[in-house]
Subunit: 257 residues, 2 copies
DNA sequence: GATAATTTGTTCGTATGTATC
DNA sequence: TGATACATACGAACAAATTAT
């Protein structure tokens, strides 16, 4: 279908035949986006160029563009232009949530880099999530998860120190939470609760995730429990919103029970 | 615990006793936030004021503030100040997702206002979601959902026209999707898939949802199916990110199967 | 609408204490 | 003991965003 932007040549539209001009333009561009004429993240022609192509006023083009934005097919940035929507990674939230599995399923190469780790007394929020008394000691790890070398998320995880005294050290060797839990005799763990929210990125997140300033991030707060239902991990993960979407799928959920 | 900000009086910290100054400040403020000294959305003292209160440099206060931001306990806006985090409504994503039920469970008064409705040919995305051929006619509705008169979300919903010819008219009377489906003989419908993403708000969303410019919004794309598994609704809902968080809970999920 | 004041954000520099080799 | 690296703490100046006048 990719025909080297031959579609950029000028083309007349049908006027006053029951379908508005902006809607015709919108349909043409939608088809081109769907056919991959503009690949993910690629810049579309400027409004002026599109106006010339379709022999219409710039405002008519703008209406078509506004509709494409509403349909989430493109994003527009003031002073930069309009861009084909980047394909977002599907991150499945099911009973079992595994970073590596999730990425491998999308043919992406996962990587987890441990930034820092220390031992801290549980604050009020973490204590509640893990069903422990405040000031109980926790192992805290901060790490960045990537797909194909592109940073995806910035995670802060807490593990009960008493049960997992050297969690961070074991994790540092195999770079996998699942494998580390297995080293501690936990063959399986499941997601007890997941909270998803969104906000603007902080300076540190901008740096670590290579974002534009104030870019939206999604924050996922989660608790994982072991076979007995005892909390083993509380995590807060900050995701680059332009690279990920979360999927809660009825089928995939059933399949993973 | 609320003691009229008497805690705003100056207080000396312990220096050079193994605990850093910024961590002591962070702990004091965390406790105050937890005790409700600053209620939801309330402005905290300025950095200058906090620096005077604790007899430290502004940078030292900033470190404490950065930590509170990381813990999602406050939000900071340049030029405006730091604010205690607003309580977010929990919106549960389970097998059955019902706007009214979700809000009533949180003691909030739900309202759905229909803005516009029309009939449109299915675009490529909607057709795929509803398992129909493109250009199949769909009823499209746009509406704003509110909690206690505060706008929460801006929804665009599509229903197969053939099966639900006057969906919008029926909906206009009872202001409830569930009740409208019942009028069409669908006693029950379930969520087949849910996709959650985030981006900055568009101009129209800023107006309808009373947001600040470029405020983050969460976009939820969903498909609901009837008892036979046939898609009956495809919706795209834009949520004010500062007022909502989505919850995928293992327990509540089981309970609603 | 223009201007000033306020508040947070960023970047210099300096000094100090602590941990490590 | 010295050298080094790192986090903490303070100070000053300026940039950027918001609010008040």
């Amino acid at each position: 279908m990719k025909e080297a932007k031959s579609s950029n040549k000028r083309q007349k539209l049908v006027r006053a035949q029951g379908v508005t001009l902006w809607h015709q333009i919108q349909s043409v561009l939608e088809k081109e986006l769907y056919d991959g004429v503009y690949s993910a993240g690629e810049k579309l022609p400027t409004e002026k160029q599109l106006a010339e192509r379709f022999f219409v006023n710039r405002h008519t083009v703008r209406q078509a563009i506004a509709e494409l934005v509403r349909k989430e097919l493109i994003v527009v940035e003031q002073g930069r232009g309009a861009f084909a929507r980047r394909d977002k990674l599907d991150y499945f939230l099911a009973r079992r949530v595994r970073f590596r599995e999730n990425l491998l399923r999308q043919q992406k190469s996962p990587a987890e880099e441990l930034l820092t780790h220390d031992t801290v007394p549980a604050d009020l929020v973490a204590a509640k999530a893990l069903c422990l008394r405040p000031t109980t000691l926790l192992v805290r790890m901060r790490s960045v998860g990537s797909a194909d070398k592109h940073p995806l998320c910035y995670t802060t995880q807490y593990f009960p120190k008493e049960r997992f005294p050297d969690f961070a050290e074991v994790y540092a060797e195999n770079h996998s939470v699942t494998a580390t839990f297995q080293a501690f005799g936990i063959a399986d763990y499941t997601r007890k609760s997941t909270r998803i929210m969104a906000r603007g990125a902080e300076a540190e997140e901008v740096r670590l995730l290579k974002l534009r300033r104030h870019a939206p991030v999604m924050v996922v707060e989660s608790v994982n429990v072991d076979h007995d239902g005892t909390p083993v991990e509380y995590g807060v993960c900050v995701w680059a919103a332009d690279r990920i979407q979360f999927v809660v799928d009825a089928d995939s959920h059933d399949a993973s029970i």
